[in-house]
Every structure is written in structure tokens, then in C-alpha cells.
Symmetry: D2
């Protein structure tokens, strides 16, 4: 009953086997390993983007920060959701790598609307050198609240950015979970919808620790490489990043794992809907659920062995009837039985 985070689960055995397989003899370091050539081809194929620059990096904070560093000037401001991971959960890493600032766009259900975005962008009106200059847009898909932008919604946001000449980054830490729900192609969810760069998540979806940075405009590639190295994010024994990603993408493993995680989430959501004290805040579309329940109920669940975060208060102390928000995250390794056990406990 471990629903704390999809980055607390295990890596897929095929990913681990690939590490073992890659550990043969010598290999050129720093991305010059032959497995990386395969990965580059895999990603270019999957994204129908034969010119894209592709790099691997250890985690999502690094992927977001180095990509945004490459896209942003220090006197600019990055437009992002007010609940964006780059704002809330990276201890100023984006500011460190960009030397810039973030402008928060209000959200509903974790998502920016084109109007809210336009209002914030136009709010940074032309005041010459005095105000921050407009920088790129960053969209998180799957959003931090577990909701999804439709293809049209992504296109509408990037269109607003584009009106002002701004590029768009996608934080795709849970890219696969969104993709299998929307049932579209990776190209449709990215460059065909106006996305310029992508943090393509692996870690939360069954890898050990690897993300791809996909840059659809290869002109930025060399600067990305320098910024990655300068951030201490270029691995010498790079083959072990390559091997993970290679196995992750092979035979659609990444999609299978995302489907599995989403299926468990659907099962959970169905159970919660049937339950009269738990109230989901948004319709879950990927592998995350936010739900409200009285403190006493949260306490009962946690005491009973369920593991998840209560976001807005201490489940141990305070009015037992106060509604608190819990977050449940599913991953590829979860079983139908495990989820049923959680729901049984809830109903008990």
C-alpha cells in the first residue's frame, strides 16, 4: 500500500538487466558509447524527429534546469503554472541554471488556460529594460495535479507563447502516463503541438534514474552540452544511462509500464468514488489522485499501513473532522491486489 510517489517504486527488471548487459569491457565515456547511438535513433524515431538533439541526464530537476538554462536569458522570466514542479520542488535549481525568474500563471485543476497565460505574458508589458523580459513557457504534462492538457489545449498555450515569440518547454516527468491516456503520438503531444524542448521522463516510470532531454531545434544542442557539463551532469560511465533508456524504450516497455500505472489509478479512483467520505479534487487522468477526507480517516489509513502524503496538514494532530488532502500515486509495479487491499482498508 505504498502510494507516496512513483519515484519510490522499483525499476523494471528489464532495465536492470540492461545495466548488467552493458557492463562488458570498455566503453567510451561521456555519451560516446554505442548504446547512446541506439537511444538517439529510438527517440528520433518515436518522436518522428530525425534532427532532434537527444541527451540523457539523471533526473527531472536536472533535465528541466539545463533545458531551461539553454532556452532562457538571465534577464527574462519563465512562464509556468503556479503549482509547477520547477517552482515548488526544485529548491531554486531553475533559477540557478537560468539566472532568471519565474512568473506564475494561475491554474485550475493544475492547468493553465490560454487566457491566464496571455494575461501574465502581456502583464510583463514593454517597459524597456526595467522589467524582466519575457522568456519561455514551461508546461507540465501530466500536470502536477494528475490532470492532462488535451492536444488542443497544449496547442492553444504554445500558440499564445508563439504570438510573443516565446519558445515552450514541456516538463514530461510523467510523459508516458499522459500519452497512453490521450492515445496520441509523441510527436502530436510535442513538436506538432508547438513544443520546442522536452524533459522526457524515465525515472518515475520504471527506470532506475534517467531522463532524456529532447531538443527539437538542434541549434541549441551545443550550448546544452556545455551547460550540462558545467552543471556536473555529464556522466563518465554514460553507458549506464544509455542502457536504461534503451531498455525502457525497447518493445514499448515504457508504454506498458505507463498503462499499468494508469490502470491502477483508475482502479483506485473507482474505489474512491464508491466511498462516501473521500472526495477526489480532480478527475484523475494519469497516475495521480488528490482526494479530501477527514483527518481521522487519513489517520486510520496511515495507521493501517497505507503510505501516502497528506499535503495540507498533520494527520496526527487537530480536529478529526477537518478535511485534509491526500495524494496517491501509482506506478508500474503495483498490483490489482495491492490496490484492492488499500480500498478494503478504506471501506473497513
Amino acid at each position: 500500500m505504498f502510494f507516496a510517489s512513483d519515484n519510490a517504486g522499483p525499476a523494471h527488471p528489464k532495465v536492470m538487466e540492461a545495466l548488467i548487459a552493458a557492463n562488458q569491457g570498455y566503453a567510451m565515456g561521456y555519451g560516446a558509447d554505442p548504446i547512446m547511438d541506439q537511444v538517439r535513433s529510438q527517440i528520433r524515431d518515436i518522436f518522428e524527429a530525425p534532427e532532434a538533439a537527444v541527451y540523457l541526464i539523471i533526473n527531472g530537476t536536472a533535465a528541466n534546469s539545463v533545458l531551461l538554462g539553454t532556452m532562457t536569458q538571465p534577464w527574462q522570466t519563465i512562464f509556468c503554472a503556479d503549482c509547477a514542479h520547477i517552482h515548488e520542488d526544485e529548491c531554486n535549481a531553475p533559477e540557478f541554471y537560468t539566472q532568471a525568474k519565474l512568473t506564475l500563471v494561475p491554474t485550475q485543476d493544475g492547468k493553465m488556460s490560454p487566457d491566464a497565460l496571455r494575461s501574465r505574458i502581456s502583464g510583463e508589458e514593454n517597459r524597456g529594460v526595467h522589467g524582466p523580459q519575457r522568456g519561455p513557457l514551461s508546461i507540465t504534462q501530466t500536470s502536477e495535479k494528475g490532470t492532462l492538457y488535451s492536444l488542443d489545449e497544449i496547442g492553444a498555450l504554445t500558440a499564445v507563447a508563439s504570438e510573443y515569440g516565446l519558445k515552450t518547454h514541456m516538463d514530461g516527468a510523467r510523459f508516458a502516463n499522459a500519452l497512453v491516456t490521450l492515445d496520441c503520438s509523441p510527436a502530436e503531444m510535442t513538436w506538432k503541438a508547438g513544443i520546442d524542448t522536452l524533459s522526457f521522463g524515465g525515472t518515475k516510470n520504471g527506470a532506475m534514474g534517467v531522463e532524456a532531454c529532447v531538443i527539437f531545434d538542434p541549434e541549441l544542442a551545443w550550448e546544452f552540452e556545455l551547460r550540462r557539463k558545467r552543471g556536473g551532469h555529464l556522466l563518465s560511465k554514460h553507458r549506464f544511462l544509455s542502457a536504461q533508456m534503451q531498455a525502457y524504450l525497447a518493445d514499448g516497455l515504457w508504454l506498458d509500464m505507463a498503462r499499468a500505472a494508469n490502470t491502477r489509478c483508475t482502479q483506485l479512483a473507482a474505489g474512491l468514488r464508491d466511498h462516501n467520505t473521500a472526495q477526489m479534487l480532480f478527475a484523475p487522468q494519469a497516475n495521480i489522485i488528490f482526494f479530501q477526507m477527514p483527518r481521522a480517516e487519513h489517520k486510520r489509513m496511515l495507521d493501517g499501513g497505507a503510505v501516502y502524503y497528506v499535503m495540507d496538514g498533520n494527520p496526527e494532530e487537530g480536529d478529526p473532522q477537518e478535511l485534509l488532502t491526500g495524494r496517491l500515486v501509482t506506478d508500474w509495479s503495483m498490483t490489482e491486489k495491492g490496490v484492492a487491499q488499500f480500498l478494503d482498508l478504506l471501506r473497513s
Copy 2:
């Protein structure tokens, strides 16, 4: 015949097995995994430093940069060897993390002398706010040239730093290789000799990709944690760093691997000494050899399948008799036969 770098070799099978073993079910992320508790104890025991703060990070550039960031103010200058890895091979990562500058101390055989260090420190004389302020000292052991500081030499350098109230960092990317040659304890080579923080290498000595940052003064620990996160260097699935380090340290594996690498280096050196056209620049003490040979000879070796770097010229083009410097690095996985093959080729 792959002598290009010890970070191009394979990880030890025990390290890989530990990864597989760690991949069971859920584990708290970000360093809260139980294996990390073991690693912390192992390192505190090995270093006889029960209070030391211990963190894991993916590579040496990150270890050096985050540690130096924690020790340095942006208006200071870091004293280091003119051939230091932090100066030459990290694409300004130390400057990025510290916002400071480096003052290069002249070296002989890759090593600073106390007099040269004192001269540089006192050269940053008191000019109030105008000049850079004196910051920490950074020593590389094993040095970038494959030579070693004796315990007395380390103590003499840290004593100079200490006179000026400066702390000392040790870049120990090849810490184990030095330790087995000096045949001393980890404590003697570090805090007993005046070292305040250590980048304790694993990657070049048989790990997949992990270094420990050891902070002997735990007051700096919290700032280190924030700086690591802000640099994008805190891993969610941290157990896979912990597992590597746990296996690396268990049963003295790390020392065995260093001894193996050094033994191969000794074998190589003996062969080079017997050879009349190759001239070693320094007596190798760990697992690195720098040697001079005519360009034609380098070309012959490389064409014959030897892999190593020629540091100061193109082996393919130019006067065949010009002396060029080659670098040979051995690692734990090298066989006696492999080295013999190289020496046979050299003699042929």
C-alpha cells in the same frame, strides 16, 4: 589494450549485483533509504569519524563543485594546482557552484609545494575589498599526474592553509589508489592530515557512478544538502547510489580494486623502463603513467590497437621524431596478459 581512462572500464560485478539486490519493492527516496544508513556507518567507520556528514552524488565534478560551493564565498579564490581537474576538466562547474575564482599554484610532477602555495596565498595580500579574498585550498590525491602527496606533504599544505585560516578540500577521485600505495589509514590521509572535506571517488575505481562527499565538520551539512538539491544532484531513487557504495566498501572491495589497478600500472611502468624509446615523466605511484615517445611510435601503438590519449599533439600529423606525451591509466579490470600485450606491441 584500453588505457584511455579508468572511467571507461566496467563496474565490478559485485557492484552490479548490489543494484539488482536493491531493486526490491518500495524505498523512501532522496537519501532516506535504509542502505544509505549502512553506507553512512561504513564511511564513518572507515574514516574513524563518527560525526562526519556523508552524502552520495553521481560523479566527481559534482562532488567537487558542491563541496567547494559549500566551503567558498563568491568573493573568494580557491587555491589549487595549476593542473587541477577542477581547473582544467570541469567546464567552469566549480566557478558555477562557488561563483568564485581559482588561483593556480605552480606544480612539480603534478604537486604543489608548501612554498609555492604560501607564495600564492600571500600574493592575495590584504587589499581590503579590492582583491579576491582568500578561500579554501583544494588538493588532488592521487594527483592528476599520477603522483602522490605523502602524509607529511599533505600536512604541510594544510598547515599553510590553516595559518591563513583556510579550510582544505581533497579531490579524491583516485583516493583508493593513493591509499593502498601509501599504506596508511583513510583518517591519516584526510582529517588527521588537516583535510576538512573529501570527494571520495568510486566511479573510477569500479563503481558504476557514485562518489561520496565526506564533510568532517558536520556544521556544513545542511548547506551541502541544499546546494546539492539546487544543483539537481539529489536522486529520487537514491537507493541505487547507496547500493553501489555499500558494495564498493564491503569486504574491502574498493581496496582490492585499487591494488589491482596499481599492480597493472607497476607492470606497465616496469615494461616502459626497459624500453629505450619511451621515457616516463614522473615515477608513477598509483594507476597513471605519463610518458614521452616519438610521434611515430605513438602512431604505431595506436594503429596496433592500443587506446590511450596523446596529450600534446596529433599523433597522426607532424614530425615523426617529435616527442609527444602519452597517458596510460589502468583500472581494476585489467589483466596481466592485457598489459603484457601492450608491452609486446611496444617492443615489437
Copy 3:
């Protein structure tokens, strides 16, 4: 009829005379001039703060940025009003000097309430290293909207900061204008109300270009000096900053100038109140007025020779009846007749 900004007006003749007087022979540079000794004493006396560290700097952006840099760690967030000058008008200078970020507190009439502040501070709840850490509070007095915090309001805000162990900076670009309205002592409006550091404005109130940075806790002084120098903000011929500030403070000139500016503002406000098409947004308390008027009326005023900023639209283009917001700023040099001329034009 020049109401565009108080930093577009002339310096007071006494300030300019002081420059001439200071230009005699040689003087030690970089703040070691004897006039600076006088200034330090003047400010310590005026603020009843005999231990305060006092420095001069050329403008408000520099004063705010270097002070905040001294108070803030790179992994923190600074709490400030959503309309704060440090957020809107300094092209990321505070981010540059602090390497941190800003958290915007919603305002009413340009002012934060203690509740809004508390909500934002507690919103940066304890998430270990993941979120930005809580940093200092910055309050602007006179606010960017021309309104004032009462002494109680300042105290209530700093009390909230203090609960969380946070320090408070005051952006006092228009400090004098607030002081003469509140009719309190400089100590009451600062350290007695919990302010730790102050950007004490001179430029907008009749100096040529000088602000004092007042640090009530002298422990931060040396770091401030290093940060000022590193920002390129330490002047060699410093006596010309000292002389301005000396004359500005002598015989209460600074208070006289602020009173003069405020009096003109009161005159303007009275005229606007009598006028049926102009609507003031807030009760002006210092030397700034924000007012709404139909576009056509703005256009008529600007065509008639009035100079001021229309903040939220182009006065030349669009629906003539749309209400647009104008900003009027008065300064010490403005005459009763000049203001009357503006009001006459408005009524004509």
C-alpha cells in the same frame, strides 16, 4: 507640468554646492573620505542607531540588490509585495545579486497584510530540501502605489517574519515622504518596528544620485562591503556620494524637500477630488497619485503639455471612453503654480 517621476526632477542646489565644495584637492577614495565620517554620524544620529553600519551607493536598485544579497541565501525566497519595485522594475537585479527567488504577496492598495504575508510564508511549508527555503521579507515604504504602512502595520508584518525567524528589509526609496506624513522618528519607522536593513533613498528626493544602505545589525557589514565591490558599486571618488548625502541630511533639508513634494501632491489630490472625470484609486499619502480617467481625457492632458505615465494602455489609441490609469508623482522642486496649471488644464 512634469509629473512623470520624482527621479526626473533636479537636484537641490545645496546638494550641488556640496559637490563643488567637496572637489578640493585629494581625498582618500572608496569611502575613506572624511565627509563619509560625517555622513555615518549623521545617519546614526538620525536613526538613534550608534552601531549601525552605513554605506552609500548610487541608486535604489543597487541598494536593494546588495542589501538583499547580504541577507539572502541562494536557496531561499524573498517575500515581497506583488507590486514591489524589486519584482517589477529591476530587470532581475535582486535575483542576480541574491541568486534566489521572490515570492509575491498579494496586496491591497499596494500594501501587504499580515494575513496575506503569513499565508505565503506558511505556504512555503517544510518540504525539506525540495522547496525554496524561507528568506527575508522586503517592505516598500512609501509603497509603490503611494500609500503608507502605519507604524503598527510595519510592526505587524515584521512580527510575522520574526515568528519564522526571518529578517526584514525596507525599500525606502521614498522614505522621507513617508516619514513626514507619519510624523514619526526614523527609528520608529525602522528598527523600532523590526526593520533590519534599509535602503534609504536620496535620489528621488532631491539628491543627484545617492542612497544610503543602513544595516542595523553590523555583523553583516563586511559581507555587504564585499558584495558592493563585487557588484561594481564601490566608487573611487566616493567623496561625491558623501557630499551629496551630507548636504541632503544637513539642517533637515531632506525633510523639507519631502514635505514640499507631499504638499504638492495634496494640492493635486484636492484638485482631482473636485474634478468629476478623474477618480483616484487610493488615498495618496506621500507624493504619488494613481487616478483613472477616460482615455480621451488623458490624451487631452498629454497633448496639452502634461507629462505623466498612463500605466495600462495607450492613450492615443482605443475607445475614447475606456478608463485608463495615470500616475502623477510630485517632487521637491514643483511649484504651487505648476500644479495649479495642471489642474486648470484638467478643468478646461
Copy 4:
């Protein structure tokens, strides 16, 4: 007998009168004042560079740092003399503004040779992303040692930079002193010799506090403006920078002042040559002299009322016969009689 620095002397009365004259009524701020239009024209005329971008800033550290920031990427290294002001006397301001590092080129008599420069540039050989990337060259004319690069020497250095595709900055804090000695045109000493950007000094040569940043390639202009603002270096009451520079340049005042300073230096040098205990280290070519003399003699001079810096030891303590180096700097305001008084004291 004040020879400590040319930035300790007074401003020229004409500069001060210009400040008074500029202090009439309102003027648009931030560089939009009409006097700035004149200054721009003056500098474009003087440099025969009708397209040059021209900006004013308060001091040399700021001029150098913002210009270098505009020319340098954070992963590069700036090539400069080992005695360069940007290295020794700016408390890491260039590193702050560029986020990059400096590579020190050895000098003789304060000057880099083309060979030494080439050796350092080629020393940063191509190691992909691992090493710092090559960035701009910075030349100081008049050098920090008071010597001059001939036009051919400047051209030879910029030619080396150009071979590697690198731009060149000139730190011209004492530009005028060099110009009048070389008796060439400003264009010849800058863009005709391959200089791309110039810190054009005013402060050390009779201004109150102003330098021009001249950018011969106007494509960099907008970035410079943003960086200047972000550094807190854009003045609101900018007319007072403009007025200084306007008066400084009018009727060749700047050249007259430089000639006066150099003439006093020549007088001093002649006196020192006649004196048997003082030994000049380099032939002075502008307004700076470095000379060696026994400690006891320095002490006698300083006790007798001469003011200058002893660079390499305490004149009060130590072996009276030890040779110490003094630095003498002359400025426009010095009289023949004042210099004679110093020489009399020396001879007495």
C-alpha cells in the same frame, strides 16, 4: 605630494560646472536625456565610428564587468594579463557578471606578448565540453604597470585572438594617457587595431565618476543595456553622467588633462633617474611609475609627507636596506612645484 592614485584627485572645474548647468528643471531619465545625445555624437566622432553603441556607467569595474558579461559565455575563459585590474582589483566582479573564468597570460613590464597569448589560448586546446571554452581577450591600455602597447602590439594581440575567432575588449581606464603618448587617433588605438569593445575611462582623468562603454559592433547593444540594468548600473538621473562626459570631451579637455598628468610623470621620472637610490622598474610611458628603493628611504619619504603605495612590504617594519617597490601616479591637477617638492624631499 599625493601620488597614491589618479582617482584620489579632484575633478576638473569644467566637469563640475557642467553638472551645475545640467541641473535645470526636468530631464528624462535612464539615458534619454538630451545631453546623452550629444555625448553619443561626440564619442562616435572622436572614434570615427558612426555606428558604435555608447553607454555611460559609474566606474571602471562596472564598465569592464558589464562589457565582458556581454561578450562572454559562462563556460568560457577570458584571456588577460596576469596583472590585469579585472583579475587583481575587482573582487570577482568580472566573474560575477560573466559567470566565467579568467586565464592569466604572463607579462613582461605589464604587457602580454603575442606568443604568450597564443600559448595560453592554444593551451585551452580542444577537449570538447571538458575544458573551459575560449572566450574574449582583454587588454589594458595604459597597462597596470604604466607601460603602453604600441599600435602594432595591440594589432598583433588582436590578430592572435582573431585567429581563434575571439573578440577583444580594451580596459581603457587610462586610455587618454596612452593616446597622448602614442600620438595616434582613438580609432587607431581601438577598432582599427582590432578592438571590439572599450571601457573608456573618465574618472581617473579628471571626471567625477563616469566611464563610457563603447561597443563597436552595435549588435551587442541591447544585451548590454539589459545587463547594465540587471547589475543596478542604470542611473535614473542619467544627465549627471552625460554632463560630465560632455564636458570631459569638449574642446579636448580630456587630452589636455592626460597631457598634464603625463608631463608631471615625465618630470618625476627625470628626477628619479638622477637619484642614485631609486630605481625605476619600467620606463614610464603614461602617468604611472614603479620604482624600487630601500625600505628606510620609503619610510623617510612617507614620514616627510609624500603619499604613495608601497606595493610589496611594510615600509615601517623590516630590514631598512631591503628594496621595496613604490608606485607613483600623477594626475591632471598636479603642479610642477608639487612634483619638485617631492623630488627635493627625495634628494634631501
